[in-house]
Amino acid sequence: MPDPILSVRNLSIAYQARRGQVQAVRDISFEVERGESVALIGESGSGKTTVGLGLMRLLPTTARIVGGSVVYRRPATGSSPASQTDVLALDGGSLRQFRWSECAMVFQSALNALNPVLRISEHFADTARAHGYLSGSALRDRSMQLLSMVRLDPDRVWRSFPHELSGGMRQRVLIALALLLEPQLLILDEPTTALDILTQRNIMDVLKDLRQKLGFSMLFISHDLALAAELADRVATVYAGEIIEIGNVRTIFRTPYHPYTIGLIKAVPTLTSDKSSLISVPGSPPDLIDLPTGCKFHPRCPLAGERCIREETALEEVASRHEVACWRWPDARQVLKSYQARA
């Protein structure tokens, strides 16, 4: 029985640039089930960060939500009954209430997300005060508990300034801080990018652990396929502002149907992959101001035919819980050969 905590329907977001409109997100629909972890994977400029910012209503002023809806469903907890929120209609106090207490975000680049002149303790106090949450020793206890949950030494970190902490420690502080108000949904934008391997491992273990203990839902945005393989229940591939394939993590990695997903997965070397099995997708992502006609991937696609150039694609269910936006998906098995032949 599906029980989505977040439903995104036909969301489109555009930026105004001097050259014209940048169509960063086009007609994206997906759901995050309660307790589920969903990964949006894609390359730089694919629009995945814009989706995250749009869901939190944190877009810069040059961006405009062109259309679509975002519905957040709060489960019944304790005294408060279940409720449904139209995120795009929130403003003022209700928006502040939604952010952080319902849905919190951990931003890209942990190095810049903390205020350099505030101690870690003040970051927690600030957040709590702004949302009318705990204060004094109750807040301190709760924060310290969260800090140890992210495997930090709370006594050391509590009085520290951000510059006294390493990149990995700061990232863990941000995760603890994001969880302060017990949000139901956590959005993470490139949570491990720019961190060292052993630090990345630590962050991934912390996230897995927390999700088990606290049971929140997770939406994370990354270009790192390995991170998705490790943490996601479901994976959506984003290309040129669209979701072009979505499915269970095993389905996406084992039997992807979209030529771009197939190319992307086969382009990442693993420790055990054979040298000859790796390929590279020819060409580069399209200009989001001047998009190609039809399927946006057709200029790079080895299978592209007449219809792909002419007609826009839409997600279509090819198996249970597996959707692909490609006219040629039944021929997907040939794609790999074409890629290899080109290389």
């Binding site: 095993r250 390929i279 590279s280």
Partner: protein
């Protein structure tokens, strides 16, 4: 055996940071034969970039020597010095910062060609530039000549950087994280281009990266060197180092790497560190610098004595007291 192209003898580099001396690279010995594909891997702060810069002559050593075809690079003069400066080129990490934004691709590539008299006259220069652009897969070359860097994608810019390094016919390229800022889907084609340079033109490459899977792929028939806090802890044939790591640090790294395969990555055996925190370069641990974190720590010998890099199994050299020496 022929003379190595580049030799590092006890190379050490220290930096002064707020009045304190930190050792970024500590006593590295390395021989690089001509035409080798070599990867240096390690976490940030391990000294891999500093080592690369010293090899390219962009940074002097604090002690120790670097030899180019057997001669100390600091003592080279005249023709030998030029042969080294042109022979060893560097491709930097960030293709958005390493190309002059006010010059066209033609101008960027023409400058070194003309300055070093590799070509004479505009026609020959243009011909050579088109050749170079074809080598780095920017085709048709005419489409790129009049473009500025901002009109190209990251991957295309990185190809221009490589073409620029190739203008002076180098025998060795130091590529510092040359693909980490490039989109995943085109990384492999950049690496394949480097491999082709080796096969067709005999150009050796030192690729500096933090990605061990990428290193294994790139240096398939070459070598991987693993660095930790300024020291080389393991070096050997790429597939041996990744498939049969001998140093505990290499083993920990490999067990920590998430793999782009949900079944493999979730079933992976993890090796836990004794301490998760990377020590500060300002206060390096005594003895083996990995001992406070090492899962195989055996006590006093690790705390007191710096393990030398010695022959282990399978043509690998390993710096660990636990690894039995296979030196004959």
């Amino acid at each position: 055996m022929s003379e190595p192209l580049i030799t590092l003898e006890h190379v050490t580099r220290t930096f002064m940071v707020k009045g304190k001396s930190i050792t970024a690279v500590d006593d590295i010995n390395l021989e690089i034969p001509a035409g080798e594909l070599l990867c240096l891997v390690g976490e940030s702060g391990c000294g891999k970039t500093t080592t690369g810069k010293m090899i390219a002559g962009l940074l002097p050593t604090s002690s120790g020597r670097i030899l180019h075809r057997g001669s100390d690079i600091t003592k080279l003069e005249g023709r030998d010095r030029k042969a080294y400066r042109l022979g060893v080129q560097m491709v930097h990490q960030d293709p958005y910062a390493s190309l002059n934004p006010t010059q066209t691709i033609y101008e960027i590539l023409a400058a070194p060609l003309q300055h070093h008299s590799f070509t004479r006259g505009d026609r020959e220069t243009k011909q050579r530039i088109c050749q170079l652009l074809e080598i780095v897969d920017l085709t048709p070359p005419d489409d790129f000549l009049e473009k500025y860097p901002h009109q190209l994608s990251g991957g295309q810019r990185q190809r221009v950087s490589v073409a620029r390094a190739l203008t002076v016919l180098p025998e060795f390229i130091v590529a510092d994280e040359a693909v980490s800022m490039v989109d995943v889907s085109i990384r492999i084609s950049l690496l394949k281009m480097f491999t082709r340079l080796k096969e067709e033109m005999g150009v050796g490459v030192l690729l500096i990266t933090h990605d061990l899977a990428l290193a294994k792929y790139f240096a398939w028939d070459g070598r991987i060197g693993v660095m930790y806090l300024g020291r080389m802890v393991e070096i050997g044939p790429a597939r041996q180092v990744v498939d049969h790591p001998q140093h505990p640090y290499t083993q920990v790294l490999l067990s920590a790497i998430p793999e782009a395969d949900p079944d493999v990555t979730r079933a992976k055996q993890r090796i836990e560190l004794r301490s998760a925190d990377m020590p500060s370069l300002l206060r390096l641990p005594s003895g083996c610098t990995f001992h406070p974190r090492c899962p195989a720590f055996i006590g006093e010998v690790c705390e007191k004595i710096v393990p030398p890099l010695k022959k282990g199994q399978w043509d690998c050299s390993v710096a660990c007291h636990l690894v039995q020496s296979y030196e004959s």
